[in-house]
């Protein structure tokens, strides 16, 4: 890549805009995380421990994960610091504490499950990205709040948005490649989707009916989902691709929710927020300059 182009892209990443999108997306993200944590149970701590499935699971003893008091303490600590962050109190410390307690609570949950729950991953990474924003801009944020011109100040770096899109895109790309690694392109043959639908599908759903009616229809849907996931990374290449991929992912989750009842509604919200053209609206553009297309 020519040096001039690299410099221009770097400058573009560091460009700052007014904080409308940043602040509203942060509030949406925190409310999403609060909903997820409120919905969490302690899992199955009475069952025999199997493997460590989290970073802290490798470091801490099993008693840490089986003690429900620890889980509840961490959960309430998360709510306390997340609310502080929501109201911009104690920055940037409260932002990092929110990351820590969310990660700990979700890790405890994973360590106590005989399966995995992937819907906690994307919000976790977005919390880290937004905590990075707080880390680098908390002084300016606090100054602008004291001056009363927060909404008019250039406080939201473009890289926060780009890293958010990257985090979501990476999640789906890895999901697609996991399937390819496990089964090759034959994963999308339609047969396994029909068997899943027969066994676990909501028989009253139109999606279930459509899949079970014909193997070719099932193959088109299953292959389509596979390649949509594998190519999710392309959302970083252009805004048109990002919108198309976002709509595809939202449709995929809605179909899965309708047919299997598997709830990824928080992911639907986050994909809509970061993949659909909300950030590109004029409100987010830097003062005096048009934001370059992604």
């Amino acid at each position: 890549m020519p040096a001039d182009s690299l410099t221009a892209r770097t400058r573009n990443l560091l460009q700052r805009s007014r904080p409308f999108f940043g602040q509203f997306s942060l509030w949406a993200l925190l409310l999403t995380c609060m909903y997820l944590v409120a919905d969490l149970g302690h899992g199955y701590p009475d069952r025999d421990k199997d493997s460590a499935v989290s970073v802290i699971g490798l470091l801490l003893p099993e008693s840490f994960f089986s003690d429900e008091r620890v889980f509840e303490l961490c959960r309430w600590a998360f709510f306390a610091v997340a609310i502080c962050w929501f109201f911009r109190v104690g920055l940037p410390v409260t932002s990092w504490l929110t990351v820590v307690f969310y990660t700990v609570v979700a890790s405890i949950y994973w360590e106590n499950l005989p399966w995995f729950r992937h819907k906690y991953l994307v919000p976790n990474w977005l919390l880290i990205v937004y905590a990075m924003w707080m880390q680098f801009c908390s002084t300016e944020i606090k100054t602008s709040l004291a001056r009363g011109d927060f909404w008019r100040s250039r406080l939201f770096p473009r890289w926060v948005y780009v890293l958010s899109v990257y985090s979501i895109a990476l999640f789906y790309t890895f999901s697609g490649y996991s399937k390819l690694l496990a089964c090759g392109p034959g994963w999308g043959s339609g047969l396994s989707l029909q068997i899943w639908m027969q066994l676990f599908g909501n028989q009253e759903s139109y999606v279930t009916e459509f899949v079970l009616s014909d193997r070719r229809a099932a193959a088109i849907l299953q292959s389509g989902a596979l390649w949509l996931e594998c190519l999710a990374f392309a959302a970083l290449l252009s805004s048109r691709l990002r919108i198309a991929i976002g709509l595809g992912l939202i449709g995929l989750h809605l179909a899965i929710d309708s047919s299997f009842g598997i709830d990824f509604r928080t992911n639907i919200l986050l994909v809509a927020l970061f993949f659909l053209p909300i950030y590109d609206l004029k409100l987010a553009r830097p003062l005096g300059n048009d934001l370059a297309a992604a």
């Binding site: 899992g43 199997d50 493997s51 499935v53 989290s54 005989p114 770096p157 068997i195 193997r215």
Partner: protein, 169 residues
């Protein structure tokens, strides 16, 4: 001057942080596969061509829990993690001979159910129905095989044998 040096430091720090974030989130999941919060989401990575459905009914025709007889399907969605010397999940599931995508042979089912019946002397026998779901033609899936077995409680055989011995005395 010091202001621009500060901004330059800040810029470099931001770029380093961005680079580190991208590198870690890309590389670590590829190694660990599933280690929260690092993950290459593996849900639905199973590919199956057939699957079993079991039903267990007691001597009065009442349905019984599959878990009581180790015939439940534990986790059809997520393959177990196998990286870093691990195999499994956070917690173990109750034992089951029902492996997703596999059809257990009659002998294995009978042996498993009889072992469980030893803990249930109130059940003289159970009926176990094994239905296999798979492709019935090139377009659709459905029932491709079905077996029903009456599996007697080994305790009942012991009691019968004892009654015969007593009569002979």
């Amino acid at each position: 001057m010091s202001g621009s040096e500060d901004r330059s430091h800040g810029t470099r720090a931001e770029l380093l942080a961005i680079g580190a974030f991208c590198a870690i989130t890309f590389a670590v999941p590829l190694v660990v596969r599933e280690l929260y919060p690092f993950s290459t989401p593996t849900m639905f990575s199973f590919q199956v061509e057939q699957c079993c459905v079991y039903h267990v009914i007691d001597h009065e025709g009442q349905p019984l829990s599959l878990r009581t007889f180790g015939l439940q399907l534990n986790n059809p969605h997520d393959p177990p993690v196998t990286s870093l010397g691990r195999h499994g999940y956070g917690r173990k599931s109750p034992f089951s001979i029902h492996n997703y995508g596999a059809v257990a042979p009659r002998d294995e089912v009978v042996r498993q159910v009889q072992q469980c019946l030893l803990r249930h002397p109130e059940l003289p026998f159970v009926l176990v129905r094994q239905a296999v779901i798979g492709p019935i033609d090139s377009r659709s899936v459905g029932l491709v095989g079905e077996s029903t077995w009456q599996i007697d409680n080994p305790l009942d055989e012991t009691r019968t044998s004892q009654r015969l011995d007593n009569r002979q005395r």
